[in-house]
Symmetry: C2
Subunit: 386 residues, 2 copies
């Protein structure tokens, strides 16, 4: 009768975070009859808190509150990086409840400096980088790799928050202060890469093996991801190379769970790893409809010691377009009548409050041509008010 799986009705998956990524992972967990619990540091009710009677609140460094949460779970996973590996390790030590990705894997990508160092040591190309502490460092880095370059908070940034492009020593000094460098935050300088495209690959891995998703292109507008095209409209060799680098990165950090890896594609066809995320990622939302097993399906499978599912696409092309808030108001989607009558798939995250630029949902289209799908999807989303 085979290995006994965790496919039990009383099995609880705990999520550190209760936003849209945890929500979509929970939607897949429900398909297996699993229960979910959430731990949120937000004052207002988050999406996953409406999807379970097991909702815990507290700061991400409140170890007693985290331990109480952990004790209600069979396994714990995460949906953001606003955590510390020390806290995760203490949770495991005090409760015996496993956390995936493991505290060790999380530590390997916990700060941008550690992350880049880990991948560089594993032979994965990254943009030149260095920790900077003041004027002398800015000068040397600018001379070595050219101006402008990017200053980044080593921890806690996302979607361009926590980044500053600096063109002079004066700007670098300002940027350093605004990122908290003089308050002790670790600040990284990173060379600007004149890329032609940004690509992403998701990988899932556990004791049953490793599966890799197609290489997709992410479209950024003002440093926020607005759309994803899959497979990426690039040479198949580049797609394959990105998948290989993503799998090598996953093995380098002994990742258990679902990770996303983002790359810069340069004019000369070179791939440089930009960032990684130890969790489902906006670049992989399209997989819900487009792949046999979505990134969220393989996320919950990977952390529950369940065999991983096929990442094969169900259509030649898929496009995801984000639905960003247009108004500051209680969340409400208007203008979706035609869309609802189409074969595009609408996802709304159930966030109570909308504000301009906030990720409120997304739309997925399947078909034959990513460019046509993107034009159609963009037109629909442009007609929405949320």
């Amino acid at each position: 009768m085979g290995k006994t799986l965790n496919l039990r009705a009383d099995y609880v998956i705990g999520f550190l975070g209760a936003g849209q990524l945890a929500k979509m992972s929970a939607q897949e967990a429900f398909r297996y009859g699993w229960r979910v619990a959430s731990y949120s540091d937000r004052p207002a009710a988050e999406p996953l808190q409406w999807m379970s009677p097991l909702s815990y609140s507290g700061a991400f460094d409140d170890i007693d509150a985290l331990v109480a949460f952990a004790e209600s779970c069979n396994v714990i996973t995460l949906e953001n990086e606003f955590l510390s590996s020390d806290v995760l390790r203490e949770m495991v030590e005090r409760t015996g409840v496993p956390i995936y990705p493991s505290p060790d894997s999380f530590e390997a990508v916990e700060s941008k400096w550690k992350e880049k160092s880990t991948f560089q040591e594993a032979g994965i190309p990254v943009a030149p980088f260095q920790i900077v502490t003041g004027e002398k460092d800015f000068e040397v880095f600018g001379e070595s790799y050219g101006w402008p370059f990017v200053l980044k908070s080593s921890k806690g940034g996302y979607d361009g928050y926590g980044n500053r492009v600096v063109s002079s020593i004066a700007e670098a000094k300002d940027g350093f202060v605004s990122l908290g460098g003089d308050a002790g935050h670790e600040i990284l300088a990173e060379a600007m890469i004149p890329f032609v495209k940004e690509l992403a690959v998701q990988v899932a891995r556990n004791e049953f093996g490793m599966v890799v998703y197609p290489c997709c292109e992410t479209i950024q507008t003002g440093q926020i991801c607005t759309a994803v095209l899959s497979p990426a409209p690039v040479d198949p060799d580049i797609q394959t190379k990105a998948q290989e680098l993503a799998m090598a990165a996953m093995e380098a950090i002994d990742g258990i769970g679902l990770f996303a890896f983002e790359f810069f594609l340069t004019q000369s066809g070179e791939l440089l790893m930009n960032e990684s995320a130890p969790r489902p990622h906006n670049s992989g939302h399209y997989t819900i409809e487009a792949c046999v097993s979505s990134q969220f399906d393989n996320h919950v499978r990977a952390v529950t010691s369940t065999p991983l599912g096929s990442t094969q696409m169900r259509a030649p092309a898929a496009v995801m377009v984000n639905i960003l808030g247009t108004d500051a108001r209680p969340a409400q989607l208007d203008g979706a009548l035609d869309l609802l009558d189409s074969d595009a798939k609408l996802h709304l995250y159930g966030k109570a409050q909308s504000k301009p630029g906030r990720k409120m949902g997304h739309l997925t289209l399947l078909g034959d041509d990513v460019h046509e799908l993107y034009a159609q999807g963009k037109a629909w989303v442009d007609g929405l008010r949320v």
Copy 2:
């Protein structure tokens, strides 16, 4: 910007019942960011109660408890027929919260007698039937339509529970008593139809229109549905006829929501409507993967005044095989390793306790040939222990 929809994050859909049908409808509701609430009359925690902080308990005739539940909802729907239209009507009158299907539509199919009379009046062929109260009726019915015939409780039966096939007046008397006929329950006699197949069609309808799903075949084993093949392997004219009858039935009862209609197909190619269900139905589970919008998607759309989605199939053929309990034990699925590595889609309902024959989950396969898919699906399910 179009009509304002109920696509608001604070919108709550209430389910009367918290079993697998409510669970799967809720899974689609979550995709739109809606919240769900459940009202259950079961003592133990039901699937949907693990998927929301809004869980209410009570009997289905406890009007005060039902009103308290209704007041937490924006709209109410149902997942079973263990209700009375009078109670539904009183809930609406006392709270103003709409219930779909409406109490009037529900009343039209509330008892098997009303249901068959309603459809017969609408010109939809049904098997000969009659209310019976004693020996004289059994005799006349048997003489008119032949022995054996079926005795049915007019209310509350499902999956063959509440039915007795009787071959003689003595058996009819026994059956009548065991179905509660002498305790005042309305009992129906129905002619046995020597059918060659059982077919089913789901229909969704609201103010935006009506959509109809493909005609599928349901395979019954010991009066429990064990598998569904879609499209049904019958002449396309018969498929079309079943869809037309289902739509006519939906209009006859002014149904708002998602209904399923079951038919007998006779040797001579005649279709007789057997039963209807004012809710998603086991015969439509395959639509989750097989159709652009599933029966559960269109269920929540229909009751929330949202435009209905396309019922078009995404593959030439689909098969659903039920996973029935094999053991009396806390629910746990074993033997699924190969299955999880395939492109079949596994659904488990999260019921805490398994028992032989209980519907614990299902499996959906998409492909080109229903017979091949059915053989594969059956082999997989036969290898499971739950």
